[in-house]
């Protein structure tokens, strides 16, 4: 505490020296991961963005490649397919994931714990495996059609949707639903049994308990799971490829087609940049919504910001 007008005593030189040394040491520690990040992630990204603005090799940067790609019907279709499938799959995952997590968490039945653990294992499966499994069940020569043919004597079965957008949607919902369930199950495990019992004792039926007690507790987890699934489905490539749905072209498939099959690297980079921008925009939207929801959940303290004491 120095008196007014009296200059504060200078910090001891040794202490100041130590402080500066600590700062330099921290910066040195941060440097390797930053360099690795730049080299492995940011530099290739910059190359992709740069390529997307390069019409002629060695020529000036131009927006012409964007105009060209945006004018293509294949891009418009792919963009529409990507958004529709991603939104549809996300909605399906949220609905199915919420219902399944609700049953696993709150309806006691033998094996519910094992199923809960299986969800973790399921998350580690590759996406094409699920598609392959669906092909075995619903494919042209799959189990369902085989059973139908055996039962009716017909040459083929009625199940022929795997190569349509509905097939992609089914495969994506099947594969990504656990991504919604995992955070939901974690959230449900935090819901006090006492709250559910109190609600029931107060006269609430099960549907009301779900709506008024469980649903509000699940919202942040649903938002997190939903955002994750939305971003993953926007960029999903393996499932679309494995269903063999030739008419269902999404942005990742278009990138593959342009880069590998057509040799149009600039066009592929344009679509890739659009895909990245779409993902980032959705992520930003999610953060904004989450922040707003978080703000709404933070209670007003009515002038008393502290937890009251009795």
């Amino acid at each position: 505490m120095s008196r007014p007008g009296t200059p504060a005593p200078p910090r001891p030189t040794r202490e100041r020296y130590r402080g500066e040394r600590r700062k330099v040491s921290s910066a040195l520690w941060a440097l390797p991961p930053l360099l690795a990040l730049g080299l492995v992630f940011l530099y290739p990204l910059v190359l992709v963005v740069r390529q997307s603005f390069t019409q002629d090799e060695g020529g000036p940067l131009s927006t012409a490649p964007y105009a060209q790609v945006f004018a293509e019907a294949s891009f418009t279709d792919a963009f529409g397919n990507t958004v529709l499938i991603a939104l549809g799959a996300t909605a399906g995952c949220l609905l199915l994931g919420f219902a399944l997590a609700l049953v696993i968490a709150f309806v006691p039945f033998p094996g519910s714990r094992a199923i809960g653990r299986f969800i973790d294992v399921f998350l580690a499966f590759p996406s094409f495996l699920i598609t392959l499994a669906l092909l075995f069940v619903y494919g042209t020569a799959g189990l369902a059609n085989g059973l139908w043919a055996d039962a009716t004597g017909a040459a083929g079965g009625p199940f022929d949707f795997l190569r349509t957008p509905w097939g992609v949607l089914l495969a994506e919902i099947t594969y990504f639903t656990p991504f919604v369930m995992r955070p939901l199950l974690a959230a449900f495990s935090q819901v006090e049994t006492g709250q559910l019992e109190a609600a029931a004792s107060l006269g609430a039926r099960p549907a009301r308990i779900v709506r008024k007690v469980i649903w509000p507790e699940a919202l942040p987890s649903l938002a997190a799971g939903g955002a994750l699934v939305l971003v993953l489905t926007l960029n999903e490539f393996g499932i679309v490829l494995f269903t063999g749905a030739k008419d269902v072209v999404t942005l990742p498939v278009l990138i593959y087609t342009k880069a590998i099959l057509d040799g149009d690297y600039t066009g592929a980079c344009v679509v890739a940049v659009v895909n990245i921008a779409l993902s980032l925009a959705l992520y930003a939207l999610y953060r904004a919504v989450a922040a707003r929801a978080g703000g709404a959940r933070t209670p007003s303290t009515g002038g008393d910001g502290h937890r009251a004491r009795a």
Binding site: E192, A200, A204, P216, R297, P299, R307
Partner: protein
């Protein structure tokens, strides 16, 4: 709480009649597989009565309460509320109010919405929108929480949250209020205050039957009209607090409801008993025939220092100062005797001789093994 006290009478005065009151356990048993957690439980809680279920952990008291609430299904017997068999009814159709240890308030709802929860759940069955608002205000006033209506539960202290939980349970005007260790999460000072609050609330709502589960004998003795003592899934004893304290019928009750000296004696004729060669005058018990082994129960605070009607000579093994009293432990013929003596000016030395006495009316004879936990 003064505001609450003054308004409570008005609120109570204008109240519509509560739902059917009174609880009856009719030979209720609950088991999880082979594990019987409530065994042939028979008990009646009269309309307007406060019944405490008192017992150690695992005695079955919470299971009994949950059987009334509908959260456990008896494997035998019936549960009746207001004379109606509710054994097969789901919880939401039983018309009960329930308060649990950890309050179980809904964290995303404000206090007023928490209290209105039950009324909204029943809207169409009982309460209109205007009536809901009125009842919420009434319940919050009764519990002294009207000023906190717009707050969220996390902005309240433990005691305030407990009051909101009680207001929420009372708002639906239940005939039966179930309290499952409602004060155990509070510190000693708050607990004492809340006990007084609960007693006042029950005076304001005399028609409501209260089933109060606790392992705390002070809560049970303070609040209950009657206490049901439970141990190992069975009802061991039931009576008024005064009865159970002054005239316990079992060793378990004697030791669980208050502290007790339990001395092995041989029952003698004409209200006498023989303790280690010393003839004592006691209050006789049924079933303790002359010559039979029995247990003598004497409360420590009823043991005095010096000679008296029933004198015991022993040696001091420990002296504890407890503020207003000294607890003296003495070894009498190989048995430990406790005496709570008004603060002594000169405390007896450890190992010194001591003479203790007690009155015949304070010494209750219990038949040996009565109500012991292995008597089945």
């Amino acid at each position: 709480m003064s505001a609450a006290t003054t308004t409570a009478g008005t609120a109570a005065g204008g109240r519509a009649p509560a739902a059917p009151s009174g609880i009856r356990f009719d030979n209720v048993s609950v088991a999880y597989g082979e594990n019987v957690v409530l065994d042939s439980f028979d008990l009646t809680v009269e309309p307007g009565e406060v019944m405490a279920l008192l017992g150690p952990s695992g005695s079955g008291k919470t299971t009994a309460l949950r059987a009334v609430a509908g959260f456990v299904r008896p494997c035998a017997g019936r549960v009746l509320i207001g004379g109606r068999d509710v054994t097969g009814l789901p919880p939401h159709r039983r018309g009960i109010g329930m308060v649990v240890q950890q309050y179980a308030l809904f964290p995303h709802l404000r206090v007023e919405d928490n209290v209105a929860f039950g009324l909204k759940a029943r809207r169409g069955r009982t309460a209109s929108r205007a009536e809901t608002a009125a009842r919420v205000a009434e319940a919050l006033e009764m519990t002294g929480m009207a000023a906190y209506a717009r707050r969220h539960p996390r902005e309240l202290s433990g005691g305030q949250q407990q009051r909101v939980a009680i207001a929420r349970a009372l708002a639906i005007r239940p005939g039966v209020l179930l309290l499952d260790e409602p004060l155990s999460a509070l510190d000693t000072r708050l607990r004492s205050g809340m006990l007084a609050e609960l007693a006042r609330l029950h005076r304001d709502l005399p028609d409501v039957s209260v089933l109060y589960v606790t392992h705390d004998q002070v809560e049970a003795l303070t609040l209950a009209d009657r206490i049901a003592v439970m141990d190992r899934a069975r009802l061991r004893d039931c009576g008024t607090p005064q009865d159970l304290y002054r005239r316990p019928r079992t060793e378990f009750t004697a030791s669980f409801v208050g502290n007790a000296n339990l001395l092995p004696v041989t029952a003698g004729p004409d209200g006498t008993a023989d303790f280690a060669g010393t003839r004592l005058t006691v209050t006789p018990a049924e079933g303790a025939a002359p010559g039979a082994s029995a247990t003598l129960c004497v409360r420590p605070h009823l043991v005095g220092l010096g000679d008296g009607p029933n004198t015991l000579h022993g040696r001091v093994t420990e002296v504890q100062w407890r503020g207003a009293t000294h607890r003296v432990y003495a070894d009498v013929a190989g048995h430990r005797v406790m005496a709570d003596l008004r603060e002594l000016r000169t405390t007896p030395e450890h190992g010194s001789d001591i003479t203790l006495h007690f009155a015949a009316e304070d010494a209750v004879l219990l038949p040996a093994g009565a109500g012991s936990t292995d008597d089945e």
